[in-house]
């Protein structure tokens, strides 16, 4: 128990230390402390993993009461089971690597200690999210990682554009958070608990389940997941979030935080299984997101933007798997994706580092020669994400496509199309960045260099993982499925029956990937094309380049309308209300003023009033009865 707490609190202690003393102890020291705490957590995660892999017994910790609700109470409780430990492993593992990477990457920044503090805080919240034993503790982590994302996207806070991006990320996440809250409220009132274990038994034991409300809860939770995991319609924050330093993009916006939605849905799989309508929605949203994001990624020229949309697209695939009830497949893809996408981001970070902040691919090229390690790791990851065997992405993506084919051909087609595009844009990225001649300025060229070993080491590790990561769940003999089996109610983990269809599908997927690569090769190597300048883009490409104008539409529909409503309220309604109140005063004043005129001073008039008053009083007293 104490070790579990240490696992949770180590990054938090690192955060406290760095925020209070980080400035005084020097950059490297604060980086080492930040990294060390996460490595400690990672070690503890391994410890718990080994423990649980043997005992198959979940560890549950209750700390103290937190929130008291009439029909239940929420406590600080933690649950270490297969799922949470799996997540812990790659969160802290990749976290450690990225911390390590950051020591070098952020070394020039004056606020490096803060950077590490925030990263540590993020890891802390992520751990809380993962190991919380109930939805509210999950919510702490959920909001906490959102906060860290806000802090880290806006890390260079002097640039208001970055701050805008940070704010946007936080607020869009909060829209999802509201959904999560609503889902919690429905669950709370239905089952009087928010604890996963009790919830599971309550649902399993219930005889008359109200499917309508359960579906509502599942849908609300899905909205929450949409926000955090950047699905349509709440995905636009993620590409903007690339404003943050690249390690942040790798850690938060590719590998860990954005998978929180998938974690939550997997966690509550027993609930989602009861709501097939919601599952359908999830699958459809996931596949559409995958396709839309992939199309946008086709034409982006900012290296990080391409990766960002690629992330959205991959997350869409995961949601597709979730929607089809194949939770373990989604988890599998989460893990492999974490490896190769972190690697890709870190690799792009390495490139950006070498080019001193240049992110536009049109100004890159030919880096293969100078940045060998970066190139190779990048290539491996690109192959992995494109689904080329034997790299890890092939296995996970293939499983998703298989599941989709089993359920719905249209979804399969969309997903396949998205993967084909993935292969194309990834290799477009690769070719534009690393092949041909360097297109940047001469000054940049003179500084080109391979990154230091602190940067390349994580790249190598991640590339290895991206290569062999597929081993944990081979199509016929899946360790992962067996490991996760206790979590799921449905026995969907049965090994696929491998027949001709499956092999054919696999072949189609691989061929699709190769076709994508080939098109990219033809276009950018053979024909030596370059993406057009911003002004020269036209037609559908322009729509894609401008991301379907979704940002503009949202801006117009929500931000502008809210702002003009606000202005209307401020200028019209407020003044009206205010003048109504003043109006009351004015009416009183006016009555007094008019009444004053009655006091004309004319004795004759007074006497009349007197006599009439006398009449009235006498009538009232003696005659009215």
């Amino acid at each position: 128990m104490n070790l579990a707490l240490l696992l949770l609190l180590a990054p938090f202690l690192g955060f406290l230390f760095n925020i209070f003393f980080g400035k005084n102890i020097g950059k490297t020291a604060s980086g080492i402390i930040g990294t060390g705490t996460v490595v400690l957590s990672f070690a503890l995660s391994i410890f718990f993993f080994l423990q649980i892999n043997q005992s198959h017994q979940a560890i549950s910790i209750q700390l103290f009461d937190w929130i008291q609700i009439s029909n239940f109470k929420v406590d600080f409780g933690f649950l270490l089971d297969q799922l949470s430990i799996l997540w812990l492993l790659f969160v802290t593992g990749i976290g450690s690597l990225i911390h390590l990477y950051s020591i070098s990457y952020m070394h020039d920044d004056e606020n490096m200690h803060k950077f590490f503090a925030y990263l540590n805080l993020f890891i802390f919240f992520m751990i809380a999210l993962v190991i919380g034993s109930n939805l509210v503790v999950l919510f702490i982590g959920w909001e906490g990682v959102g906060l860290c994302s806000y802090l880290l996207i806006g890390f260079w806070h002097k640039n208001q554009d970055f701050n805008d991006a940070a704010k946007k990320a936080f607020i869009m996440n909060r829209i999802g958070d509201l959904g999560l809250l609503i889902g919690m409220f429905i669950l709370g009132s239905l089952f009087s608990t928010l604890d996963y274990a009790t919830l599971k038994t309550a649902i399993a034991g219930a005889t008359d389940l109200n499917i309508y409300w359960i579906s509502a809860a599942a849908f609300a939770l899905f909205i929450g997941a949409c926000g955090k995991s950047a699905q349509i319609p709440l995905y636009t924050w993620l590409p903007d979030a690339m404003a943050g330093p690249t390690p942040v993009s790798a850690l938060i916006h590719a590998a860990t935080m954005v998978t929180a939605g998938i974690f939550m849905i997997t966690r509550l799989n027993f609930l989602f299984d009861l709501a097939p309508d919601v599952q359908n929605i999830i699958a459809i949203v996931g596949s559409i997101t995958a396709l839309v994001a992939a199309t946008i990624a086709l034409v982006q020229t900012d290296i990080k933007k391409v990766l960002a949309y690629s992330t959205v697209s991959q997350l869409g695939l995961m949601f597709l798997a979730l929607g089809l009830g194949a939770y373990e497949v989604a988890v599998f893809h989460v893990i492999t994706h974490a490896f190769f996408k972190a690697c890709l981001f870190l690799g792009s970070g390495s490139v950006i580092h070498a080019l001193h902040g240049e992110q536009d691919m049109r100004n890159m090229g030919g880096l293969k020669k100078v940045m060998g390690i970066t190139f190779i790791t990048f290539l491996i990851s690109s192959l992995a994400i494109s689904g080329i065997p034997p790299f890890s992405g092939f296995f996970s993506k293939d499983e998703i496509l298989l599941v989709a084919f089993e359920h719905n051909k249209v979804l399969w087609f969309i997903a396949s199309l998205a993967s084909l595009m993935t292969a194309f844009y990834m290799f477009r990225l690769l070719y534009l960045t690393f092949f041909k001649e360097f297109r940047g300025t001469a000054e940049q060229k003179s500084h080109l260099h391979e990154s230091p070993s602190l940067i390349t080491f994580p790249l190598i590790v991640l590339a290895i993982l991206a290569t062999i990561g597929g081993l944990i769940s081979l199509p016929t003999n899946s360790w992962l499925n067996a490991y996760l089996a206790p979590l799921f109610t449905k026995t969907a983990t049965e090994a696929h029956h491998f027949g001709t269809t499956e092999y054919a599908l696999m072949a189609v997927a691989v061929i699709g990937g190769i076709v994508g690569i080939a098109i990219a090769y033809a276009k950018y190597i053979k024909q030596n094309q370059l993406p057009a300048e911003d002004a020269a883009i036209s037609g559908f490409a322009k729509v894609l380049y401008n991301k379907y104008y979704v940002d503009e539409i949202y801006d117009y529909l929500f931000v502008k309308s809210t702002n003009s409503l606000s202005r209307f309220f401020r200028d019209q309604v407020e003044t009206t209300l205010s003048s109504l109140v003043f109006g009351l005063g004015k009416v009183t004043n006016e009555i007094a003023f008019q009444g004053k005129k009655l006091q004309s001073g004319s004795i004759g008039f007074y006497l009349f009033a007197f006599v009439l008053g006398l009449c009235a009083i006498v009538t009232y007293l003696f005659l009215a009865q």
């Binding site: 959920w142 909060r174 958070d177 809210t562 606000s566 109140v581």
Partner: protein
């Protein structure tokens, strides 16, 4: 210990502060504020030991008015809020150089006295007297030490005074009517009354008018923003931190149990008003140019949610409301203090004239950010506990209420972060921003500490208020 000792300390403190002279006034006031805090902690101990904390003596025979004070868990929670915030507010004013300081600090203590009395009184007329008494010091504080154009300030403050006074008169009428029915102003006697539905409706409305103006619930809020803007920092803190809570407390203590039928019958309307306040306040806050006005509207939004919680008439709603009241009290005091700190350096409250402070004073930025986060109800802050409970109670009434009320977490984040961005972030400001002084830092750290401690461990407060809220709830549910 006698419960009236608390009131005596505060009252004596007010006079002593005045007599101490301008130089010593602040210290004397702080001393008495702290002793009042000690006194209420002692009351808390006694209460936890199971003692009955009340004081009753006949005051006027004809009509039958008693000097009746009674403290249950709810009252003690509110007393703690009052007596904890009063020293903080006094301490936060140390950095300002007010002229005629003795009167200023004396009025603050006097106000604390009146508010503590309001929370303690269990006799209708006594309660009413304290209720109105609290209006007098804040009127002078806002009028004499406020900022901005004198004429405009006078207008705003007089409007506030007359508006709230007018609302309270309806409450007085309700009390007179209740007295005619019950023959006594004592709370227990009023609880026992068996009024018809129509009578209850009228009484409910009369109370509502008084409270809706004080809290304020839209559309009765038009005094708020201007007064918050014009009043001095301490005045704004008193208003938003404690005085608002008087209204909410009174809803729970007086309005709901005395007229439960009406409260049940028209529940949806009043919850709707509260939630309308949430959305309206948040949206208006989006485009405020003045920092204090923005905070005022944010306060309107939060208070709307609290009010909606109280009108759900569920234990969750009441408990969440009380928790949120306390949390909001601390946060809003902290935020107004932030505004004051900036004003001390920049001599402005206009948001567009700020910006880039974070790079000048990172410490200040962190503390500000923590308060902003608390205000938007991030989990592990006290506000989250209250907000969560209130929203849950709303969802029990109608899911749409929770959904609409929940927009506060989106819109709240929007306007607060937008404000934070324009006040703190961006290119380094050309004007010099001296780092926070030790006194300022202590104040802020105290507030932040309270917010996070109770955000993690709200159990003491929950346990304190729950029995008395359940008791009130049985009174509410006595008729069906």
């Amino acid at each position: 210990m006698n419960v009236s000792l608390l009131l005596i300390i505060l009252l004596v403190g007010a006079f002593a502060t005045y007599l101490a002279g301008d130089k010593l006034a602040s210290k004397v006031a702080l001393f008495f504020g702290l002793s009042a805090l000690g006194c209420s902690i002692e009351l808390l101990n006694q209460f936890n030991a199971g003692e009955n904390i009340s004081y009753l003596s006949q005051w006027i025979n004809q009509p039958n008015i008693a000097f009746a004070l009674k403290a249950d868990g709810l009252s003690i929670a509110m007393l703690l809020l009052t007596t904890a915030l009063t020293p903080i507010i006094i301490f936060s004013s140390f950095g300002n150089d007010y002229k005629n300081a003795k009167a200023f600090y004396s009025l603050i203590l006097f106000m604390a006295f009146a508010m503590a009395g309001t929370f303690l009184a269990s006799d209708g007329l006594l309660y009413y007297i304290f209720w109105e008494l609290s209006l007098i010091p804040i009127y002078f504080i806002a009028l004499l030490w406020g900022n901005g154009d004198t004429e405009e300030r006078k207008k705003a403050v007089v409007k506030f005074f007359i508006y709230t006074l007018a609302g309270s008169l309806f409450m007085l009428i309700a009390f007179v009517y209740l007295y005619q029915q019950a023959g006594s102003f004592l709370l227990e006697d009023l609880y026992k009354l068996d009024l018809s539905a129509t009578e209850q409706l009228w009484i409910f409305l009369a109370f509502f008018l008084a409270y809706a103006i004080k809290i304020p619930i839209i559309p009765f809020h038009s005094w708020q923003a201007k007064v918050y803007q014009k009043a001095p920092a301490a005045g704004t803190m008193l208003l938003s931190g404690i005085m608002l809570k008087m209204g909410l407390y009174s809803v729970i203590r007086w309005q709901l149990p005395i007229s439960p039928l009406a409260a049940k019958e028209y529940m949806n309307i009043f919850i709707g008003l509260g939630i309308a306040g949430v959305i309206y306040g948040s949206i208006v806050a989006l485009r405020q140019k003045d920092l204090k006005k923005l905070l005022a509207y944010s306060s309107l939004a939060h208070v709307g949610l609290i009010a909606a919680g109280t009108y759900t008439l569920t234990i969750d709603g009441l408990r969440g409301a009380v928790l949120q009241m306390i949390a909001h009290g601390f946060v809003v005091v902290g935020l107004f203090f932030i505004a004051e700190i900036i004003f001390r350096r920049y001599e402005t409250r206009t948001i567009s004239e700020m910006g880039g402070i974070r790079s000048q004073s990172p410490k200040f930025a962190s503390m500000f950010l923590l308060l902003v986060l608390a205000s938007v109800g991030l989990p592990t802050t006290f506000n989250f506990v209250g907000e969560f409970t209130v929203l849950y109670s709303l969802s029990q009434i109608n899911l749409w209420f929770a959904l609409l009320g929940g927009t506060t977490i989106i819109l709240g984040a929007y306007y607060m972060l937008k404000m934070y961005q324009h006040v703190m972030l961006g290119e380094t400001n050309s004007k010099v921003f001296a780092d926070v002084t030790a006194k300022e830092a202590i104040t802020l750290v105290l507030i932040i500490g309270v917010i996070f401690f109770f955000g993690m461990y709200p159990k003491p407060i929950t346990d304190l208020i729950t029995p008395s809220l359940e008791n009130i709830l049985t009174h509410i549910n006595r008729v069906n």
